[in-house]
């Protein structure tokens, strides 16, 4: 299935790999969990059993790495709602492009 260039399909491998990180992100739909995340990110991520690599990706808001580790965008968007980070910045990070260049070249803006 994953043969379209630069296009990860969210299949069983990603779902298995990213399960804990996505589950943590899903929990941010509840306000009390958002507060706990904001109060102590490391502790919150530990309580969800994230690996060191996953913790680093989340805490540095490395959107590219979160997806590489099996994060599904619809869940990790809830992390972006905390800061908040615009969708286009997440897109640019995944494309490995400067934000303005991304808006211009990918989205035809500016």
């Amino acid at each position: 299935m994953s043969t379209i260039p630069e296009t990860p399909l969210y299949d069983r491998a990603g779902s298995i790999r990213g399960y804990r990180m996505n589950k943590m992100a899903m929990s941010l739909g509840i306000p009390a969990n958002r507060e706990a995340f904001k109060a102590d990110e490391a502790a919150f991520l530990d309580s969800h059993g994230l690996s060191e690599a996953e913790k680093t990706a989340v805490m540095t808001r490395d959107w590219h790495e979160m997806v590489a580790l099996g994060g599904n965008l619809f869940f990790i968007l809830k992390i972006s709602a905390i800061d908040p980070t615009p969708m286009t910045r997440i897109g640019a990070a995944q494309a490995g492009m400067d934000h303005d260049l991304f808006l211009q070249q990918r989205l035809g803006k500016l």
Binding site: L28, G29, A95, G108
Partner: protein
């Protein structure tokens, strides 16, 4: 018997809801997008449906990866808008068309579909945004809703043909429902967009325009495409367009394209709508 008064295909991009919430609808970025929906909104007001069937996907809000139903049907009395992480939106609750929902579930199983039947469940932007685009922001929605969730998040997603087949059952369910309700069918999602991977930001304006022009008459082409072809042509999340096929299949073979609108980008998505009536 209940009557299908028309079919609508529309994007359900979450940024549309955010733009409405932040009062950005009249800004240069958004005005052309919202202006294009005015004829669709007017059509809806003129047609006065009683029930809206909304086919959409959940985006990690009501379903987590612990349970992924390929198809789910709501039979609830009321659906609350879900908090997607940004806090609750000021959107009224949606009343459920319970009787039609149960009738549809009966018909689905009779016809060898196996839906998850949901008695208590919240709805995310996939349902909220299409309702806002076509009904505005009333104090109470003028229609009851019959939500149909399609898994477009985790592969395997259903085939386009399976979505088509479900649309056929939907039509028969509405037309065999004892009542005189006027029903509009809203297929949602798309158009082209990709949010993940290094092809993120992919928008295919040519394919989007062809889709909007072709969904009325050239539906066989889209029904016969593979899921992989959807992803390639419309982007990984653009494959949501398969949900329009449920709507299209529920309409006559011959339809009239009443309204059509395209705007790109809405956030990172090719966005637009069609309004179809049975010919």
């Amino acid at each position: 018997m209940a009557k299908i008064i028309g079919g609508v295909g529309t994007s359900h991009v979450p940024s549309i809801g955010a733009a409405l919430d932040k009062g950005l609808a009249d800004t240069p970025d958004w005005k052309p997008f919202f202006d294009g929906y005015i004829p669709g909104k007017q059509w809806m007001a003129d047609m006065k449906p009683d029930i809206a069937v909304v086919i959409f996907n959940d985006h990690g809000n009501s379903f987590f990866l612990d349970r992924v139903p390929t198809f789910a049907v709501g039979v609830a009395e009321t659906y609350h808008p879900v908090d997607e992480g940004w806090g609750p939106r000021n959107v009224p609750d949606f009343k459920g068309a319970q009787d039609l929902s149960w009738h549809f579930v009966d018909q689905l199983v009779e016809r060898h579909f196996d839906p998850l039947v949901c008695r208590e469940i919240d709805v995310d932007h996939g349902l909220q945004v299409p309702m806002e685009l076509f009904f505005g922001h009333p104090e109470a929605w003028p229609v009851k809703v019959l939500p149909i969730w399609v898994n477009t998040i985790q592969f395997p997603i259903p085939t386009p043909q399976r979505c088509w087949d479900m649309g056929k059952v939907l039509r028969d369910a509405i037309e065999s429902f004892p009542g005189d309700e006027r029903v509009v069918i809203m297929g949602t999602g798309g158009l082209s967009h990709q949010l993940q991977g290094s092809r993120a930001g992919f928008i295919n304006r040519t394919a989007d325009e062809a889709w909007l022009n072709g969904i009325a008459d050239n539906y066989d082409h889209y029904r016969n495409m593979t899921r992989e072809e959807y992803v390639e042509e419309f982007g990984s999340e653009g494959a949501e367009l398969i949900m329009w096929l449920v709507m299209r299949a529920a309409m006559n073979d011959k339809v009239t394209l009443k309204h059509r609108h395209y705007h790109a980008p809405a956030s990172m998505t090719g966005a637009g709508m069609v309004v179809l009536e049975n010919a």
